[in-house]
Symmetry: C2
Subunit: 320 residues, 2 copies
DNA sequence: GTATTTCTATCGAAATTTTCGATGGAAAGG
DNA sequence: CCTTTCCATCGAAAATTTCGATAGAAATAC
């Protein structure tokens, strides 16, 4: 099957870096003859010369140098694998499924995840982003979730609201008119982009016949607005730079120009949650939590009040 | 030192993919007890449970699944390492140093290198790009070289010339004048970009007091022209798309709007060149060689004739 | 419900591999 | 020229791995 072992390569590496069999033997706590035997064995198995002994010095052959360059990262990875195994043996959590609503801003999330990765280097994070993440589906598919609407789960913590802002490209017709306020009626004639989970045919169908286009990702929604094709409500954090640059401008809506999206952090199963899950939850809350954990009350203003509740409704988030 | 071996992980993998110890034993040509022992050993050494036997089925634990996912690519890489070792043992060439003059177009080069990598998967290519690669330095630092000027080496093969074209940004003042021909005198007042090896202070100094800016890379030269700051002579292939798009335009020079750079392929040491070196040489020639190998004649028009030999001289390539 | 098949765990013996200390010879340094 | 340092090799001892046999547990067949 395998002709060589990682250990043999590791011995070779030690011989090279320490500059000789004897020193390597010392460093490896072995006899010199053992090191000699190991190198000889490695070369025999491969049928290739890796080192040449020139008098008192050990030098790599060309092949040896090339192979050791390849082997070095392998050795490191192998040690990392064993380190992870050791951590998991001591009870570390192997992986953590994190589901987030797509409106949740990525930059602070990844800032937290970076810290998390340092504190839990052996726990792998599987991140799933979902358009309108509800608590029920979140619980099914994740250990920890940032959901749009919770309200019926025990371990729930309110996070800072995400602000959606009605924007359009700076040369969009809606903005070339009077600088005065727009009403939702004014929006009717223009194309709006809505963020809709493509796997959900019902929601998508709910938009038919309207002047909605639906997209699947926040990125696409932003581009749709940026192109001038559509207007839409986009999360403030994702377009702050574009607003500053003047490429996008806020729509001067007399009502509903801003909408708050209430997000909550939910532990899928508080009973079995591992230490890494709990720590990540704490880290997210420390950064984004509102002070104190709210009781599971239905968050106010799920869909902000609207004159017609139709034409101007729902922002990039599809109506229910 | 190391607690486990790649072989143990490989056995674990085989157990999982074949769905049992017995089947794995069969596939590995071992006894079932040996497989059982290996898995037990692996788990003992790690102190972690990787698999659980549920009745007749073998299932990975969460830790086992996580670790095996990490181990799988390691196993593959390890086998690749041994495969390479086998190839090198059979005389394959470990590596090949290829030096090219920076004017040589990269796209066809990498097309050739892709084919090369398929035919010689175990030979690593170290590519060095040098601004004005002469034959002497090339020989010192490479097995194979594409040089600007050869003329005194035995194994030399002429390649297709690279065409330098005088260009500027479409809104550059040189282009907003009359559409009629420019003379080199017209260029005097404008900034030219020259490609100069930064490590060569002499060449750089030779430009002082002129309206030259020097850059280190072709990429930078292109951007300098693209920004409208400079005009310059750039290799045709690297700016073909920009010319098509209209961003850059040719300078209507009455003379010297195009310059040919003669390039040659040189084998540094024909005697000791390995099979991969020879094959790559053949592949490059097949693609880019002029018909037949030319005798080592001094290539004509090293620096194309120029009225003044000064203001308009040298293109992006610094004068000697 | 019982018999049969299929599977893994484990045991002792055998085979293989690895390690060790000792020794010899080659090269470098004093 | 002598001493030191270093690697190759040898035989013996130690450790590891493999094997076949067997026992027990779980699924399947009857």
């Amino acid at each position: 099957m395998h002709k060589t072992t990682v250990e043999q390569w590791q011995v070779l590496r030690t011989v090279i870096v320490s500059g000789g069999y004897s020193r390597a033997a010392e460093r490896l706590n072995r006899s010199q003859s053992s090191v000699s035997y190991t190198i000889a064995q490695l070369q025999d198995r491969l049928g290739a010369e890796l080192v040449v002994v020139e008098g008192r010095k050990v030098r790599l052959t060309e092949a040896g140098a090339a192979l050791l360059r390849d082997a070095a990262p392998l050795i490191a990875q192998f040690e990392a694998l064993e380190a992870r195994a050791g951590a998991l043996a001591k009870g570390a959590q192997a992986s953590l499924r994190l589901a987030i609503d797509s409106a949740y801003p990525k930059r602070p999330l990844f800032a937290v995840l970076r810290d998390f990765a340092e504190r839990f280097p052996h726990t792998q994070v599987d991140l799933v982003e979902i358009i309108r993440l509800g608590a029920r589906e979140a619980r099914a598919r994740s250990d920890l979730a940032i959901v749009f609407q919770a309200g019926d789960v025990l371990e729930e913590h309110r996070l800072r609201d995400v602000e959606l802002i009605a924007v359009a490209h700076c040369r969009h017709p809606l903005l070339t008119r009077s600088a005065a306020g727009l009403t939702t009626a004014d929006l009717g004639g223009h194309l709006q982009v809505a963020l809709v989970d493509g796997r959900d045919p019902d929601r998508a169908a709910g938009l038919s016949g309207r002047r909605f286009w639906s997209v699947n990702t926040l990125e696409a929604a932003r581009e749709a607005v940026l192109s001038g094709l559509c207007f839409g409500w986009l999360p403030e954090e994702t377009i702050a730079d574009l607003l500053d640059a003047g490429e996008l401008r806020r729509l001067p809506l007399s009502f509903g120009a801003r909408r708050s999206i209430p997000l909550s952090l939910v532990l899928a199963d508080a009973g079995t949650a591992g230490p890494a899950t709990r720590a990540l939850a704490a880290m997210i809350l420390e950064r984004d939590g509102t002070r104190g954990s709210h009781p599971p009350s239905r968050p106010a203003g799920l869909i902000p009040p609207d004159q017609e509740g139709d034409a101007g409704g729902s922002g990039p988030f599809a109506p229910e």
